[in-house]
Symmetry: D2
Subunit: 419 residues, 4 copies
């Protein structure tokens, strides 16, 4: 038991922090202004120049594809435990991860293709993703059903000769708004009659395949997150080669289970980064404003919240790091309880801390003058994405109860929208 | 002690509910689509046709200016206790109150002019407001200071001959985005050297006075609330006749205290209406979705939340009605503790219930497909508007502690942005 | 809708408060010292002299059997709405209600016999109870099963000729420790094969019937509540005349439903009284202690809690009064949702407020130097007695969900240990 | 960063768990029955035979004085990080730590004497304490003042020749009820005129010194914790040799700061042990009881709580271990924020989890039939002992705010009753 970051991690943290200070912070509003300008010109759904300009700099600084786990195509990859604290730093600014080619859902999609795709799949889609030339989306959740129960999914994948014919309607397909988004990983049912967890399969669908139609962007508390976006997508008689199927028919559920572990670590560490930033902003604001003759930071009610926020963050970070450590050492399967825990804890504490920070900022807090209202909306969404809190709590409780039951069987963990 | 609504109130409730069913609900999205269309055409800051079309119908149905307290110019006015349950019904749809000429901040502004304005002020501004011909804004909060402490306010009002010269910067001036917004009530300091609560005054400022500049709209969790809007407004050497000063120099604080009572009842009852609607939507959704083999409404975790929501709503409504009753019978001053209580309770329970409803809707909950995310943003803002929770809790606690102290002095209640 | 107490109630409140000031408060510790002295002498299970001395004074002051609803034997009885505020006052001191012959479970038992007993039953048991000559207990909950589900109850009542033979084991039989406790109302099953809600019956069992054995007192957080007590009672081949059966075979569930309404109002109003007292003690303590150079009552964290406590109490009281009003006007059945709500709300807010008061008192708060730790234990128990929170929330949620379902059927409300 | 226990710790855990299974669990009620029997015989304030019988067995098993930090007199001592997980195991049964000579306040007192006492002090008091021959108490808190602010302390220590003359009244002197309790460490003021943190000193006072009078035991939620006890103690003109003063005049505050770190780790890990046990009992109970046709453990509301409990425990344990690690590696001073955090977090989560477990047990939960009600009382007290939550949150917030202030000065951490 030892609680220090390794020298390697500390060095990378320092390098990443320096990059954030030099290139991200000073450009934080540049991004928003560019999107606003694009919107005013009639189309917000175009990639921003600022991110494209910063990407080569990140690559030059050795801060590219940091998320990559050690693997044949990435021998220099980091462990989950090593990557987690870097991910936290990127999470302080919502658009920063893309600069390092470390943004969701591309990271999860790249891992999925790397693990479960054929060599041909990798050549076609993984390589350009690793280079940052294209983007991707993960099509899981459906508007018509409670997708927290994966067996509810209705999208059909019917084999016809050398092809699969796909029909379905998906939403919350994050990233599908970006014109560079070239490929989707789609979850659907190849055999609705198979046993509960063998009905689903995952398949690669080119975004420009005939029958694919991006219907509309969804909003998150008033923001449309252009140019990334969260799209509703229709798949109507879409035909893709059978070779696009990942791993085999009926493996969709298993892939989802394997895929989601690292993605959850990433989301959680970014949530912690967002929470840290909110706490910082809150402290600064309270130190700098005066009411009723005193600094607001001298008021006990704010002291309580600051202390609670610090306790929450420290605990959530340690738990996330432990989950990462377990994934590295005993695997995602054994770490399932810990992964469920961080999935529950991190966005919840981030929501609470950001909410306090909003309150500390008065009217400014709910506006775009501070990054807080947006951070709240984002963290709030994470309590639903990849399975709502309730589903994860239920699964975690089953694991706990099973310790006290004779003949307990394996517990199914929830999956949903991709990370 | 008796807990039934009077026959008069029940009749008006029925009439109002029928109007909501016939005219508001079917047009709920019409409003949003019209604003979106205006925005797409380049200007969202124009009044909507739908509201203008519905106004004469509301007037014809005897549902106009219901907020009006009994007064010389409104002998048919309602008591606070009578109006409250009607206000709740209107609060179920955010844009509905304007249809009945019962929307904030116009209602509070009309009351202020009626109580504290000269007859000339009333002829000039109150009459067209009562007819719904113009709209108004209340300019209180300032971006540079913690406005929860009214003595922090920096806007200056300097007497020069028969005029006042006003300089200041205000924000969260709600309604100032509307081109029909013709008049502002501005809070500022006529004498920064006077005793703490005699420094401030309120004055009527025509929106088209030279030196008035609407700088920009503020957003609330990504929404700009066009065409109503929450604006930042600059006042630079704005000159208005001395007769525009309400009540007299140094009376600003006293007016604010008197003004805010009814406005708080209104806000709170609308919050309760919003909470009721969220609970309804939550129940319907949970009844209609299935996961893991059962209706979601059969899951205990949702049952707990539904029950808690019902307990919260019933209690908050009773407390708000009691505050209204006290204002009617013993006056705003004696009712100050009850008014503080509802100001704290109503938006907080509404936030919690709406949040649960969002969670029950999954991804849909944070989008504009349901009115929930917007409702959350709106209710969250009400925890800051008219003084943040913390300031009201502090004032309420002082009242409570004073009961147990010898020689306790009067407690100052918070004011801030107008209702 | 009107929120003032009637003149009659105000007069009775004044009379009761005067009695509390003159006779209860000055003797508050006398009671505890007497019980402690009895315990030291070897038997704490004897009635206290202090209560017996005060009873005639209460009777003389017209403060006797106030709980009695208007009925043939009590034409002067109070309505639930009238009694509730008096009950609150008595609730400020745990042992006070008995002085007025208004203590649980006797009040509920008297009501039950009055409503469902034969004239012979009333002559035998109701009359001495109304005079305060004997006491009673309600034997419902069983140690071996989850009694929150009344169909789990295992106590059997077998008809044999003119008698019933009763076998079972009960616990939390409150009051059965008192040597004056002469009669039990026992819930059991006359027909385990009958439909779910027609299996149970209630029967009167003399405490001295052969086969009745008081096994032991249970403790509540370290207190045994002598001489009242919460006993475990064994019933072994206990024979009672068939005429002791209340209302008829299979009516036990129905009686329980009818019985529990008023008892819940009583418990809730006493909880509110306890919460008020805790808030008072908290304010006094915080006003009188100094830390870090200021009165502790000036610290914001305590101000927040005081304000929250006041908001909670006001709301809970209004809700309880509304439930009482509904019971008086539309009956217990129609008021079932409101009764469930107060059952959930009142002990929960009392627990929270008492807990804050404990915290405000430092180490003293958990000791017997203040009435707070005991009040906490008592209120905490009320979250379980008469059905745990979870069961009531579930029932309340079903009522709410049913509003949004087609063809919804009646919802069964929980019963458990008597009030 | 590495999250596994060392092989040495794992081996000791296994040994300790085996001892708990073999010797503690089977005797859990034996202890309570022995105390009850003593009480019935007229004196509960005598050491129990069961603990005395188990002590030699613990010593033989190499499970004696485990708390001892590495030091000249204990080269085989454990680090805080090593001891913490052992302390957690002992914490599952309230009276277990004494069996291993690892109970508060003796552990903290031994450390204090070891660090700050003279060799003579050590020979006289430390040696018999290490052998378990005598016990000790820590006299800090006073009934008359808010002791959370150490400068409020009124106990005076006046130098007269070679002696100090001590006058004061202390309470919550835990352990002083035990007849073997032979020595007190007393906190008092040697110079009330000195700077704020140099007024206090600590001195060793033999329990049998003339003028020492144990006034009475205090209760904790109805329990008196005999034979350990929490006593009120009067010190009247008590004279002790000047050599009994620890470290020097004015060093009391500094000693307290240094003393409290390890003690807090111990308390927190025992709290976590208590929380783990409560969760276990809750799961078992819910698995084994049926209501409304299903195991109660299948109800969603309980699943939510079980999951939350697991998340809380894991996080609190990691945070406590991190604090222990920091104390071992960078010292108590640098670890002050982490120590404050665990002091806040651990008893709070334990209270919440134990409360849920009580609720899961129905009426049984509040009684002595399960160890839950007592566990609640004990954990609740820990939110006050060694400084109330509010004082620690305030101190922690100051540390956080100081990061965002220029020229911030050192933050004073709270001390109070000893650990």
């Amino acid at each position: 038991m030892e609680f220090d970051y390794s020298p390697k991690v500390k060095e990378m943290q320092a390098r990443l922090l320096a990059f954030m200070d030099e290139h991200i912070r000073p450009n934080e509003n540049v991004f928003h202004e560019e999107v606003a300008a694009n919107r005013a010109k009639g189309n917000a759904w175009v990639p921003t120049k600022i991110i494209e300009e910063l990407k080569p700099k990140a690559r030059a600084a050795g801060l590219w594809n940091l998320f990559l786990p050690r693997s044949p195509r990435a021998p220099e990859g980091l462990s989950n435990l090593e990557y987690a604290p870097l991910c936290e730093i990127m999470g302080r600014v919502p658009w920063a991860p893309e600069v390092f080619n470390c943004s969701a859902p591309d990271t999860g999609n790249m891992e999925t293709i790397e693990r479960y795709g054929s060599e041909a799949n990798k050549d076609e889609w993984l390589e350009p993703l690793l280079k940052g030339d294209i983007r991707s989306a993960f099509l899981m959740t459906e508007p018509a059903v409670a997708s927290s129960d994966a067996t509810n999914i209705e999208c059909s994948m019917r084999r016809e000769g050398d092809e699969y014919v796909i029909n379905g309607r998906k939403w919350w397909s994050s990233g599908a708004g970006d014109p560079r988004c070239a490929v989707y990983i789609v979850m659907g049912k190849t055999d609705p009659e198979a046993p509960r967890h063998s009905q689903q399969s995952m398949i690669l669908v080119p975004a420009n395949a005939p029958g694919v139609k991006v219907i509309r962007p969804l909003t998150v508390f008033g923001w449309d997150d252009a140019p990334h976006g969260h799209m509703e997508v229709e798949l109507k008689d879409v035909r893709v080669p059978a070779g696009n199927l990942l791993m085999g028919e009926g493996k969709g559920f298993a892939i989802a289970q394997g895929r989601l572990g690292p993605g959850r670590i990433h989301h959680c560490m970014r949530s912690i980064g967002a929470a840290e930033r909110a706490l910082e902003l809150m402290c600064q604001r309270l130190n700098n404003r005066t009411a009723f003759g005193r600094r607001i930071s001298e008021q006990g009610v704010w002291r309580e919240r600051i202390a609670e926020a610090r306790c929450m963050i420290e605990q959530a970070r340690l738990l996330t790091l432990k989950a990462a450590y377990m994934m590295d050492t005993v695997g995602n399967k054994v770490a399932q309880a810990e992964i469920a825990m961080i999935k529950i804890v991190a966005p919840n504490i981030a929501c609470q801390i950001v909410d306090w920070a909003i309150q500390a900022h008065g009217g400014g807090g709910v506006s775009d003058d501070f990054p807080l209202a947006y951070a709240y909306a984002h963290q709030r969404t994470l309590r639903l994405a990849d399975g709502p809190d309730e589903v994860h709590r239920n699964a975690l409780a089953k694991l706990e109860l099973a310790k006290h039951m004779v003949g307990a069987k394996e517990v199914e963990m929830p999956i949903t929208r991709g990370s």
